[in-house]
Amino acid sequence: MTDKLHFSLVSPEKELFSGGVDSVTVPGSEGDFGVYPQHMPVMTTIRPGAISVMNDEVERRIYIRGGFADVTAEGLTILAEEAVELADIDPAKLAQDITDAKEDLSDAKGDDKKANAQEKLDYLQEISKAMSG
């Protein structure tokens, strides 16, 4: 396949990726879907999970949370609230973080702090789920 799909991943803070790729698998809110070059225009919300970017037989997995996928004639744009490259995450450290977060949660006093700790724990667990999945 000579055609490449123009894919850009942007978070509020910065543009994380922009360039040509072979295909991207996106966890849409109504189910996962793959985007190849010449895809028809689609606009969808995203559920938290890992997108998988295929380029030259190499797969990159990026965890994203909250956002939109917009497929136009020009390519695919993902607007993500948060994005973390899964290859950058050390599984041992993640496990440690989860344990810490659990401790924080049990130590937290007051509803505000509890909600914060719970949110953090959920977030870490989502990442770990995305990694194993």
């Binding site: 942007v10 509020p12 803070e13 109504e30 606009m43 939109f68 136009t72 607007l79 609230e81």
Partner: protein, 295 residues
């Protein structure tokens, strides 16, 4: 006439002031670079968001079920003015310019018979606006303790605005902030946030819609439902970042001026000090000579 010692003390104190302003200028310069990078790197997201909203609203605007965030409540009776300024001073006319713009807008709205509510982000404009419009002032959100502004802070502000909008506390929301043009010039700007229709750049190109059928998943309404609050956050975030960059730019210029002024003052004081010293020596000499002649 001040004594020599007093002159020396004053020169020393101006010198140490100069050291401080110089250091502040350099800190502002370093922070400015970082803030500028933050503005630049946040731009793609904001641009894309704008395009997407423009695309969607184009197809949704005429329909009866269009969300209120997009088309407004149909009334313009109550206005919410969000004034975003810096939390710290020492940046020349930066905060004053924002406060002036806000006051102008508010007085115009009041003279038109509208009801005005004010929400401030950042302490400096809050103090100035509150002096005149303390009755209309709702609250102030301070970002003083955060070294780096991230989208989370913007989300806090936007969720507060949304909460009020859903409780029908206002019809139109305007954000006053300072647009960052370059280091020398920051332009205080008033931007309409709600209804989002009015805020859209008319020059945004409508891409990919040339008759092609767009598929929406779940559907347009639900996407807009999620998209519009996020768009609000993005716009506020962008404004906050521009504010930080503008603040640092203004601070750098102000501190540069202060350093230069201190330098001029030191030169002037040193000149006076030397004149005084010389005249004292001359007086002493005349006294000695006169004494010697008398003998």
């Amino acid at each position: 006439m001040a004594s020599l010692k007093e002159f020396r003390n004053r020169i020393d104190s101006v010198k140490s002031t100069q050291k401080i302003t110089k250091a502040m200028q350099m800190v502002a310069a370093a922070k400015l670079r970082r803030a500028q990078e933050a503005v630049e790197s946040a731009r793609p997201y904001a641009d894309r968001m704008n395009t997407v909203v423009a695309n969607l609203s184009g197809s949704m605007a005429d329909q009866p079920g269009a969300p209120q965030l997009l088309v407004g409540t149909g009334e313009t009776k109550t206005h919410l003015v969000v004034v975003a300024s810096a939390d710290r001073g020492h940046c020349g006319g930066f905060n004053g310019a924002i406060a002036r713009k806000a006051k102008l807008l508010i007085s115009k709205l009041i003279s038109e018979g509208k009801q005005v509510k004010i929400l401030c982000v950042g302490g400096k404009a809050y103090e100035q606006v509150k002096r005149i419009y303390s009755k209309q002032m709702l609250d102030m959100i301070s970002l003083r303790e955060f070294k780096v502004i991230n989208s989370g802070h913007a989300a806090v502000i936007s969720s507060k605005i949304l909460e009020m909008f859903e409780a029908n506390e206002f019809d139109v929301c305007t954000l006053v902030y300072s647009q960052f043009k370059n280091v020398m010039s920051q332009v205080p700007t008033a931007q309409t946030l709600i209804p989002a229709m009015d805020a859209l750049d008319s020059d945004v190109e409508l891409t990919g819609l040339g008759g092609a059928c767009y598929t929406y998943e779940p559907d347009e309404e639900e996407i807009l439902q999620v998209l519009l609050p996020r768009n609000l956050t993005t716009q506020i975030f962008q404004a906050l970042l521009e504010n930080v960059a503008g603040e640092m730019g203004a601070k750098m210029t102000a501190m540069d001026n202060a350093t230069r002024n201190a330098g001029e003052m030191i030169d002037k004081l040193t000149l006076q000090y030397n004149r005084k010293r010389q005249s004292m020596i001359t007086t002493e000499l005349i006294e000695i000579i006169a004494g010697a002649e008398a003998i």
